[in-house]
Amino acid sequence: MTTFLGMPALPAFGSGNLFAGESFPKAAHRELGNAQLRANLGHATHTIRDKRQAVVSELPDWEQLRDAGSAIKESVMARLPELLEEFEKNFTARGGVIHWARDAREANEIVAGLVRATGETEVVKVKSMATQEIGLNEYLEEQGIEAFETDLAELIVQLDHDKPSHILVPAIHKNRTEIRDIFLREMPGADPALTNDPPVLAMAAREHLRRKFLTAKVAVSGANFALADSGTLAVVESEGNGRMCLTLPETLITVMGIEKLLPTWQDLEVFMQLLPRSSTGERMNPYTSLWTGVTEGDGPQNVHLVLLDNGRSAALADEMGRSALHCIRCSACMNVCPVYERTGGHAYGSTYPGPIGAILSPLLTGIQAEENSSLPYASSLCGACYDACPVKINIPDILVHLRSVDVDSKRGTKKVPSQMDVGMKAASWALSSGKHLGLVEKGLPLGRLAAGRDKKIKKLPGIAGGWTQSRDIPAPPAQSFRDWWAKEHKSPAPSRDEKETQ
């Protein structure tokens, strides 16, 4: 329990790579036009989806694990200040150094300062959402420090000067031939005879990075979990690049959002069952590393952790939305999302794509930032994400909540109300009384006129035109159910010629 005895502060929103630069529908329109992307994504999401389903249905207690995971995270949010202090105490006692960063800029400056202090100009990196969120690589580059991504997909994306499109498999939008071409073009010393066979490409990446691993003095990582009761950090990975970065260099700098805490060691047993199955659809990921501060004679002796707010405290202030912070970045929601499956990650603008991104980005930045207010609408509310989420984040409810935050934030600010505003106001009148609706229904035969002879309406004006771009509207019936019922139940006896009309 937390007692707050101050003035309520204005929310401090996040900065960095959290913004949609253009509205979702506009970005989606462009991405939908890319047939190769859609084919890659369709294949990928269905593959992971099926794998996940198989390993999740193996566990008799999957739902109980979800219940525990959800409650643990809810408890973390409720007790966040004390848990952060407990973690700090334990991590520091074991030789680790903690830094606090209010936002992206501050986090970047801290990391750059720590690298500079080692005298090095190169760092190796483990895949990390937090460092993408703050744009660390670009910042380090400006400071004359080169950051080498070591995860295969991150390497592909980095070599191609592209952006990740998925939080688990960042290069999912590229196929093997595209990847081979990137290696040939951008990887120094790549074998000109390189084929597009995935094992061959993986070996090329191994050769390319091995020298870096063996000589790197500084590594930068994110963290999947932080255990408050011991001060332990965890990184969950597959390739071994994580182990290389966490083990061989002298200095390790980890950047982690403040929401990643778990209260106790015991809680890890829940999350290490939930995460791999939800994420890659494996019973367990190949490698997980845990470290608690510094261990003499084993691994980096100069260990730092940057605790990042960057809008998380603002998200926490939203009572309806705060459970978005329960996210463990597994990507199950995007792999089952019919919208993400068709648009890919780039349409969301932010580091966080898919259903979780559609709620997390606007929560971290505020609904009015750039085009982020368009993100909560990027969903048909089908609910597949909620079912797949290992920590039971009710994404559909939060999407709807954020839409109302958006609508309310715009009330009274517009000179001219939008078509949607006008339509919703009119519909509120029509649908808030049986009498009103009955009156509106009297006008339906007009629809029959609009439908013309083939009984189909093919084009509507304004926002409703979105409907008729790919769907017909056949003619409405001559009589509403309400009218029929009234006649049936109030008139003495319906005459023979009052045939049911449809």
Binding site: D151, R206, Q266, E282
Partner: protein, 212 residues
């Protein structure tokens, strides 16, 4: 105000509605209830699924098994605290000793030395049958983390008594503040068209010897 104070104060302000920390329902399985044979069988099944090589042998045959697995290795590294008996067959073979490099806290091998070593032999702290996971905790018979990472071939001995059925049982047996590595098969990636490729940066070959 320091960033620390600022952030903690923002969080406290965000929690003005004083949300309750719920009781954690721990209705999930705490133990598998499997017998010793079942545990071995399940662990083997899971490791094979990850494309690891597995041999289940009586404890007395561990040395011979290690020797045969190391046949093609020009060099191999062991932690100083490795169960001495396990290398008996290497010593008997006479040539084994000269290929051996011992890593110890007093005389740690350099990264370059490790990179020039073909294989590594370690013990393990505990294993999880259900997920095919072997956990190393940096104890004397496993050594520091780097030695089981850099060589391309990892031979790992798991004692049957150290196999737990499910993860909660296994994590209950180890000290989480030690440097922990959980290993489930050889390193792998699915980053290219989701086709799984074994062996990227970590050891490309994982041999597990389960000693009954």
């Amino acid at each position: 105000m320091s960033a620390r104070e600022d952030i903690l104060s923002r969080i406290r302000s965000a929690l003005q509605d004083s949300p309750e920390a719920p009781q954690i329902p721990r209705e999930y399985r705490a133990a598998s209830g499997m017998d010793a044979d079942g545990l071995v069988d399940l662990l083997v099944d899971r490791l094979v699924d990850y494309k690891a090589q597995v041999a289940v042998v009586p404890a007395a045959e561990v040395p011979a098994t290690i020797a045969s697995l190391l046949e093609g290795a020009r060099s191999y590294v062991v932690p100083e605290g490795l169960d001495g008996g396990w290398l008996a067959a290497m010593d008997d073979a006479g040539t084994g000793g000269s290929r051996r490099r011992v890593d110890s806290p007093a005389e740690p091998l350099s990264v370059a030395d490790l990179d020039g070593t073909d294989a590594v032999v370690t013990g393990s702290a505990v294993a999880v049958a259900e997920t095919g996971t072997i956990i190393l905790d940096g104890s004397a018979n496993q050594g520091r983390r780097a030695i089981s990472l850099v060589p391309d071939h990892h031979i790992c001995v798991v004692k049957a008594a150290d196999i737990a059925g499910i993860l909660p049982e296994a994590l209950g047996r180890i000290d989480g503040t030690r440097p922990i590595t959980m290993i489930s098969g050889p390193s792998a990636t699915s980053d290219i068209e989701l086709q799984r490729v074994e062996g990227v940066h970590g050891p490309r070959r994982l041999d597990v010897i389960i000693a009954r």
